[in-house]
Amino acid sequence: MYIRNLSLRHFRTYARLEIDFPAAPILLLGANAQGKTSLLEAIAYLALGRSPLTNTDQQLIHWSAATSGMPFAQVQAEVQKQQHTEVLEIVLQRSQLSNGNTRLDKRIRVNQKAVRRAALAGHLNVVVFMPGDVALVGGPPSARRRNLDNLLSQVHPEYITALSEYQRTISRRNALLRHLGERRGDMAQLDPLEEQLAQTGVMISLYRRRALAVLSSHADIFHQEMTGGAAWLRLAYRPNFDSLKPPALDYQLGLLPEVAQSPVDVDALRQAYREMFLRRRQEELRRGVTLTGPHRDEIRFLSEEVDLGTYGSRGEQRTAILALRLAELRWLQQQTGEAPVLLLDEVLAELDRERRKYLLGLVNQVEQTILATTDVEMFPEAFRRKTRQFEVAGGIITPVK
């Protein structure tokens, strides 16, 4: 698949943008703060239904639109698939309520039809690689969970639905735990929420386990290739709650994707989940938070028995994150039958010559890669000749002759 046309209104630095892209590697050239990253962000926004850079949709609205009488932002793209074209659109509209608060409406349309966020899944797939991504390896677990959630959300609408239901139920349950802990009340109020969490939590955990098993084996292959066979890589899923122990299974899953596909006794998992809630109830009442479940899952990057998050050098972490991004590309391709769009923001600068060559070689495997850079010299002459180049300056894009 590839982006045929992108249209932005009042999005970040763009007052107005309307541009056609070819099915080719695209180089966006320009100094910092001119709008290169915002353009990649807009495309990712349509694929994920949320920005990879911020949790606050409000920030996406162009500052002048925010202060003028038209506080809205619009992102629209025509996506060319193997057989057909699709039009995706997200509109953010801010309005002033009579009680003085503001309200942000988010409307998502697929082929002119209004849909929920979950229905966005599967229409546009992207792999995003940004300069800060190396921090994923050693950063907080929430960032690694979010990264995996973003990937699964691109393919499985039911995962998006389960995840948002799960999160809503967690905040409800936490509010209830605090109330019961402080003021007492009927404990039976917890039961329906725990049942709900057992249903959605087990499902989230299974999707994560399966995806990670496959991602891990792909990432391992890329990692070995990049290190000349010197080091294996494993993405280890450490579910916060797991009755599929012994822990050895965790290790096997990384090596044998087919193990992850084997049937799992979902009812037994749910039952174990309910029992865990009962066991930890006193502690949870005391602390007023839910301590068990996939919102506390951990994912680690292991290489040669070493945890790269804790002990990896900066260079090792870069190689690992590159291997992960490539594994995501392969995973999306397998799941959907189409190559995703590759969005690379200024990442060459962080890689050595060998890894640069390796990454640029992969550009041939997808229909469209959009690369943003301040320095065109970073790309080999032969590569540059294959690309279409655009100059980005002050939120205006012009093709380079």
Binding site: L97, N99, G100, A119, G185, A188, Q189, L193
Partner: protein, 201 residues
């Protein structure tokens, strides 16, 4: 709103109006000045209606619906099936069910739904009172008619755990496709419910 240019009586009205749900300070001011400028008898009629509302209405001591006499006409009606209790969140839901003229049991109004995030818990609803009615006597069926929202579903699921020990049969309002609707435009959640609740013919 402590403006010397506006008499305290007006400010007080504005502040009181803006305590109502869905009414902010701007709407409250507009309403207040409308009442002030408009035909004076409108304000007086409103005051009278509000006065009567407070003086003459109360909750029915059996079903907690709003009523002018206790017990309410529904609870006092011997022609109704007092062994069948329909549980609703708000009096408005009761009115809608009454309009169908198809329901001949009695009601129980919870006055809300469980919503921990908004600080509404079981003890804030009329749940104990419902249990007392079941304990007191011949109830053969409880029909749960909470709203098909996530709060409504949560409330229903909670009531099921609370009411199970009683002998009464527990039922739930059917859910699915709206009459006069179009399958094509039904959302996935509604269709899923309709599939789950499909009926043998």
């Amino acid at each position: 709103m402590s403006n010397a240019a506006i008499p305290p009586a007006v400010t007080q009205l504005i502040e009181t109006l803006s305590e109502l749900p869905g009414i902010g300070p701007k709407t409250a001011s507009r309403l207040a000045f409308y009442l002030l400028r408009g035909k004076s008898e409108l304000a007086l009629r409103l005051a009278d209606a509000l006065h009567k509302l407070v003086e003459n209405t109360r909750f029915c001591s059996i079903c907690y619906n709003i009523t002018e006499q206790d017990p309410c006409p529904i609870c006092a009606d011997p022609a109704r099936d007092h062994g069948l209790i329909c549980v609703v969140e708000e009096p408005l839901a009761l009115l809608s069910l009454e309009r169908t003229e198809q329901y001949h049991g009695v009601y129980h109004v919870l006055h809300g739904s469980l919503s921990p995030l908004e600080g509404i818990f079981a003890e804030d609803l009329r749940v104990k009172e419902l249990e007392a009615r079941l304990r007191a006597g011949d109830v053969h069926e409880v029909l749960l008619a909470t709203n098909p929202t996530s709060e409504g579903d949560y409330t229903a699921a909670y009531l099921i755990t609370r009411l199970k020990p009683f002998a009464a049969r527990l039922t739930r309002l059917g859910r699915g496709l709206p009459v006069g609707g179009d399958l094509e435009y039904a959302d996935a959640a509604t269709l899923t419910r309709a599939l789950e609740a499909r009926q043998e013919l």
